[in-house]
């Protein structure tokens, strides 16, 4: 894991001091709320339905046990004892007080954490593959590059007042676990025919009001130049991105309006002026950062088998454990979608348990996934059983990864000022129909249901095999149904199936969709998404609306 040096810490400390000063000036009425709002947003502080909401950055979703314990401390001390892990691999707290915010920032900075640039029209937290460093299919750990991007984008003087927010994701394998094609910039590390490593650069993907799949702006940029190339993309966006209409301000609209050829031409022209300026970090800096993501000290010859005699444990291993690149090790996913839970929420006590287990069994590393779960990436197979027992005792061992009850839901109208409708109760009611039978869930197989409370799409409904979107129907909460989305390497955008529903109607409709799929799939191994892709929308539509 990356550890701060004196420079990183000094910058964070200065940023904390700066924001404390800004908070102080606001509390003394020396600046207006209108002036303060963009400043607090740049520190991840929103005003939501019930209080201030704080979004803390978890760079590329990786944190240590100590950091997780601090997140628990924050929940206990400054909030109401819980936090919400988000689809962008961050954590949000819902009950923060402005007057305590300075103390909170001090606490975070003690463990090399902060909330900068988690909101506002700037470059946001960089996201990455939750299996980074452990996946068998990656060509290298993508996180050093995410860290280089983090540093390059932190307090970037030219790009702190962009037309709109800007999200970047980095991966290093052909399986896309970070939805890079749905980001403003998506970077895929690979080795070209000459054996040189570099990135395929996607640009202009995104969800929200106008969902678009990213396009390739450059097939290959050598790793040594990707920062200056990113600077060129941001420069073109900052100068020409639309500012007349907030709904058209994302880079995806600029790319669409210019066309990818013209956009590419402009980026290349800009890069020609930027590249000679030496903006890219030197190789020594790459080496320094890469060294910090070196493999943990794996035990060579650790037994490569797992005793699966306990059937409940076997279920969890089958569903929530993935292959690790190192023999004798496994990747374990902790589901934050327990029975009647709130997707992505964890109590401070649960966070403490996870911190302890990470230290004890997982080389002190935890990852947050974009489906609002957590990952312990380096666990010895012989330790899995003991770890599973400890997880189960804290209600953290639900064996439902990627199944129908592993639902993504944004906070929706229960917390969010922008919402049209509640998301969490919909997720809970759908899950309630299946959560008592894991075997039924497993029979249904991989099924990604994603719920957003409004068109902003924080719940990724456009990338759901089944997407649900909260809308306002004459003051009543209503829901649209979308089918066929995917945020993975086979990225596709879900399409609206037909007229919307009220709360009961949408639960019913999902039921009918699943029943139809089970009757229509060509084989038990054919996923819901594949059946939909094979048959098209019509029979699904008939099953729901007939």
């Amino acid at each position: 894991m990356y550890r701060y040096d004196q420079y990183d810490q000094a910058i964070v400390d200065a940023r904390v001091a700066e924001f404390k000063d800004q908070v102080g000036r606001r509390l003394r009425n020396e600046i207006t709320e209108d002036q303060f709002k963009p400043l607090r947003l740049m520190n991840g502080l929103y005003l939501q339905l019930h209080a201030y909401m704080l979004r803390v950055a978890i760079p590329y979703g990786t944190l240590s046990g100590t950091q997780m314990r601090m997140l628990a401390h924050i929940a206990r001390t400054y909030d109401r004892d819980y936090g919400h892990f988000t689809t962008r691999q961050n954590i949000q707290y819902n009950w923060i007080k402005l007057e305590q915010f300075s103390d909170l920032l001090d606490d975070l900075s003690k463990v090399e954490m902060h909330a900068f640039q988690t909101s506002g029209n700037c470059i946001r937290n960089i996201s990455s593959d939750q299996f980074a460093g452990a996946a068998a299919d990656e060509i290298a750990d993508p996180r050093p590059y995410a860290e280089l991007l983090r540093q390059w984008s932190t307090l970037h003087p030219e790009f702190s007042f962009l037309p709109r927010k800007f999200k970047i994701a980095v991966i290093a394998s052909d399986s896309d676990r970070a939805a890079i094609q749905l980001h403003d910039i998506g970077l895929q590390l690979y080795r070209n025919a000459d054996g040189v490593t570099g990135f395929r650069v996607y640009v202009g993907g995104g969800m929200g009001r106008t969902p678009i799949i990213g396009k390739v702006v450059r097939e290959f940029i050598p790793v040594g130049q990707f920062l200056s190339y990113s600077e060129a993309i941001l420069r073109v966006y900052n100068r020409h991105g639309r500012r007349d209409n907030i709904y058209k301000a994302r880079i995806k609209i600029l790319v669409t309006e210019l066309g990818i050829e013209e956009f590419t031409r402009q980026v290349e022209a800009e890069w020609a002026t930027l590249e000679p300026l030496g903006l890219d970090a030197p190789q020594a800096e790459y080496d320094r950062i890469i060294a910090q993501f070196a493999d943990p000290a794996y035990e060579i010859g650790a037994p490569d088998t797992i005793d699966l005699s306990d059937p409940d444990f076997k279920l969890w291993v089958d569903q929530n454990v993935h292959a690790h690149k190192q023999p004798g090790y496994a990747i374990a996913t902790i589901s934050l979608k327990p029975k009647s839970g709130i997707p992505g929420d964890a109590s401070s006590a649960q966070m403490d348990v996870i911190a302890d287990l990470a230290e004890k069994y997982a080389h002190d590393e935890i990852r947050v996934t974009h489906s609002q779960n957590l990952v312990l990436a380096h666990v010895r197979k012989v330790d899995l059983y003991a770890m599973w027992q400890a997880l189960a005792a804290a209600d953290l061992a639900t064996p439902n990864l990627d199944l129908v009850t592993d639902i993504i839901a944004c906070p929706g109208m229960d917390y969010c000022t922008l919402a049209n409708a509640r998301s969490i109760p919909i997720a809970q009611k759908i899950a309630a129909k299946f959560e008592n039978s894991i075997s039924e869930q497993r029979d249904i197989g991989e099924l990604k249901i994603k719920v957003s409370g409004c068109i902003n799409g924080c719940g990724h409904h456009h990338a759901g095999h089944i997407g649900i979107l909260g809308v306002d129907k004459k003051g009543e909460e209503a829901y649209q149904l979308l089918l066929g989305g995917s945020g993975a390497e086979d990225a596709s955008l879900a399409k609206i199936l037909g007229p919307g529903f009220d709360e009961n109607g949408i639960i019913d409709a999902v039921d009918k969709l699943i029943a139809f799929y089970r009757s229509a799939r060509s084989a038990p191994t054919e996923r819901f998404l594949d059946t939909y892709r094979r048959l098209g929308a019509a029979p699904f539509k008939e099953a729901v609306y007939a």
Binding site: I11, P157, E158, F161, R239, R243, L277, L279, Q283, R288
Partner: protein, 161 residues
């Protein structure tokens, strides 16, 4: 990996040398330049101007052929949220402009640190800034992560000598 050349540094004192007018901040050693400031179109039309004003949608690169007759570029910030002016200043400095670049309009104290970094060296804010807060703001960051027009050495260079 390539050799990293330095970008063009802005001349002038690194820490604030504020002049007397509270509404004006200037970080240059040369004499303040006062003359009519032309809109970009008039300037490009060939009028005898040494100062030009750029609005957010206008292309600062059009000035590049005219640097020799330009002393001052005033970049307008009608709304502080509109960040195009940052790129305008950066483009001018990167192209080698060493004259004055002034940020005018809705310029707030919390932005001038960023503005200094992209190459602004004078400020004409709508509302006067508190010089003490200005100084505290500009002195705040001991290090920077990335290169910009102010010539500050990024931490990756400090780390590796």
């Amino acid at each position: 990996m390539r050799d990293n050349q330095d970008q063009i540094a802005v001349s002038g004192a690194p820490s604030p040398a504020l002049d007397d007018t509270p509404a004006r901040l200037r970080f240059r050693d040369d004499a303040p330049f006062e003359s009519p400031i032309a809109p970009l179109a008039d300037f490009l039309a060939g009028g005898n101007f040494a100062a030009v004003r750029i609005e957010p949608g206008e292309d600062a690169r059009e000035l590049v052929p005219h640097f020799d007759r330009l002393k001052l570029v005033e970049i307008a910030f009608p709304k502080f949220r509109d960040g195009r002016g940052y790129s305008s200043a950066a483009v001018l400095r990167q192209a080698g402009f060493t004259g004055e670049i002034r940020a005018a309009g809705d310029v707030l104290v919390d932005q001038i640190g960023f503005m200094r970094r992209v190459g602004f060296d004078s400020f004409a804010p709508n509302k006067p800034l508190d010089p003490k807060v200005v100084k505290a703001t500009l002195d705040r960051y001991p290090y920077v992560y990335m290169k910009a027009a102010d010539g500050k050495v990024p931490v990756w260079a400090l780390r590796h000598g």
